[in-house]
Symmetry: C2
Subunit: 342 residues, 2 copies
């Protein structure tokens, strides 16, 4: 049998089961024994089976509800809400239901979740800060369920369509702004060091220093979580040093919230005693006291673009590009100023 | 035919169509003419038809993906995210997909949306700050799709199960706290006057004054949107008055964000020159500068309770009560203090 062109009947004959049993496995039905299911999955995988997509002349699937699955590793922050809004704005008018799942902090979905997705047969799956293992990827491919990774985090294989943003540029423009104001002791409080978007932002921070001929100090580069508590802890330490920084670049707006609280507890005013730049440009940042200078990450646009890619893919159109990065830019508000000592 | 006990065959005979045509309408299939569909809907409604729910011994539906529909009038604020999190925490472990829809600011779903819901046959529908008209309600009932209104806003009919919170108590405890601190010129900046939760919170504000024997002034009671911009505009006006308030109770945390910005622009410090109480206790409020005293509205618990009610209802269990109100309580942080003049 030629790869990718096998039929259900051929797969069934090879495994020694009936064609309806193969169909049941393809449709995520529970009434097949685990041993049989595994043998069928193995044959599907070996033959790179692709389920034909039943479409009308206008490209829409003929049966079942039109759904898009969106998966977050965790969804309880504002960042996730921006992406959901972006997906909704594309899916809503197209009358496509958006199914939301949360992995409770894990970056890889469980097999149960994959089974449920196969059972509900969405038009596509959007993975946010999460990824599939090769077996899971094949399971979706064999059901002709396209997926896109919305990534600011890892580096997915090059054959998975990905939407991201230019993290290195974000780190660069944030730091250049602080250097232009005259700061020379600038700290960066970033997310996890093992996450690519963190590294790209810190590399932008370093490059801005190098271009300006200003040395940066390893003690001023901090890694942690993307949450407020992490920003708070690092800032308490940084701001109690004799050579405390006059400006901090935060790897997320949440980190910036924590830094602002630490500054206040240390009796330092923003921006008079400490300049602060965030990252993400969450809508709430313009209402903070003071309004936060931050790097705009176009999260809604990223969610919308990923949704459009999935809908196009379900209609049989291959992606224009496997990796699309949207632009980041600095939004200057009132949390940054020249250092007091100049 | 007895009401509520008619069969599809009986409905079909009465309308003069085939039984499969009635089934198509019940299942939201598009291939029935509009005129026929309306005649069938009318007959279903007249006979109070209820579609039997196919269940396994364990109560789970036997066919199709297990979904819960959650509908927001608009979902792009933190408040919505808390409710979604609450629903996810119940639905996720039960392997139920959560389908999110946004009505773009409208408080009533379109017929298209109802058609899509009938086509995807969820276990139930949770309406957040939105409601159905009687026809739409019947359309869901006739498909045995239960619905719950998560309400802090209107007053749904008493035969619709509703989850809310004690808004009057929220207004009372917020205002009592300010009176206890010694404030006697307290303003309230609330959401829309035509929304019941707004009225209940303002009534709590008035009752606290009455109990303490402190008069409240009509000019100090302001109505508007639940957003930051509304809080900002009202506060600019209130704080420029010769008899400016020494404390403000905000009808939402977003309103409080706007008031804080206005205070800052007027050169007033919080809490030294102005005490401020918010409403909702969004997670971000503890990171504000200063951390916000606010009324905790248990949004996650409300979302989770509504989800559990829907799942129970899909399993054939009638609701324990048609209206469940969860408790509100004051969370005291650093944005409130005694007035400077005392």
């Amino acid at each position: 049998m030629a790869k990718g062109r096998s039929t259900i009947a051929e797969i069934a004959a090879e495994v020694g089961v009936s064609a309806p049993t193969v169909s049941k496995v393809l449709n995520g039905r529970p009434d097949v024994s685990e041993a049989t299911r595994l043998r069928i999955e193995a044959a599907l995988s070996a033959h790179e089976y692709r389920k034909p997509v039943a479409t009308r002349a206008d490209g829409a699937r003929t049966t079942g509800p039109r759904l898009l699955d969106v998966v977050f590793h965790e969804s309880d922050n504002l960042w996730a809400l921006e992406i959901i809004s972006g997906v909704e704005r594309v899916a809503g008018p197209a009358r496509i239901g958006v199914v939301l799942s949360e992995l409770g902090g894990s970056h890889r979905p469980t097999q149960e979740w994959i089974d449920d997705v196969m059972a509900r047969r969405p038009l596509g799956v959007l993975l946010v800060l999460s990824d599939l293992d090769p077996t899971q990827r094949h399971q979706l491919s064999s059901r002709s369920i396209p997926f896109v990774v919305l990534d600011t985090q890892g580096k997915p294989p090059t054959d998975v369509p990905t939407v991201g943003s230019n993290n290195w540029n974000g780190g660069l423009v944030a730091t250049q702004h602080l250097l232009d104001l005259g700061h020379t002791r600038i700290a960066v409080v970033m997310g996890p060091a093992d996450v690519l978007c963190s590294r790209a932002r810190v590399d932008g921070f370093r490059s801005a220093h190098d271009s300006a001929g200003v040395p940066w100090h390893p003690a001023m580069v901090r890694w942690g979580g993307f949450d407020a508590a992490s920003g708070y802890q690092h800032a308490l330490d940084l701001l109690s040093r004799p050579d405390r920084p006059t400006a901090i670049f935060a790897g997320s707006d949440y980190i910036a919230f924590g830094i602002a609280r630490a500054a206040r507890e240390c009796g330092l005013r923003i921006p008079d005693d400490l300049s602060l730049v965030g990252y993400d440009n969450l809508p709430i940042t313009e209402w903070l006291n003071p309004p936060l200078t931050t790097v705009n990450q176009p999260l809604r646009e990223m969610g919308g673009l990923a949704a459009r890619m999935l809908i196009a893919s379900a209609d049989g159109q291959p992606p224009t590009s496997m990796r699309m990065d949207l632009m980041t830019e600095l939004v200057i508000r009132e949390s940054t100023a020249a250092p007091a000592t100049i």
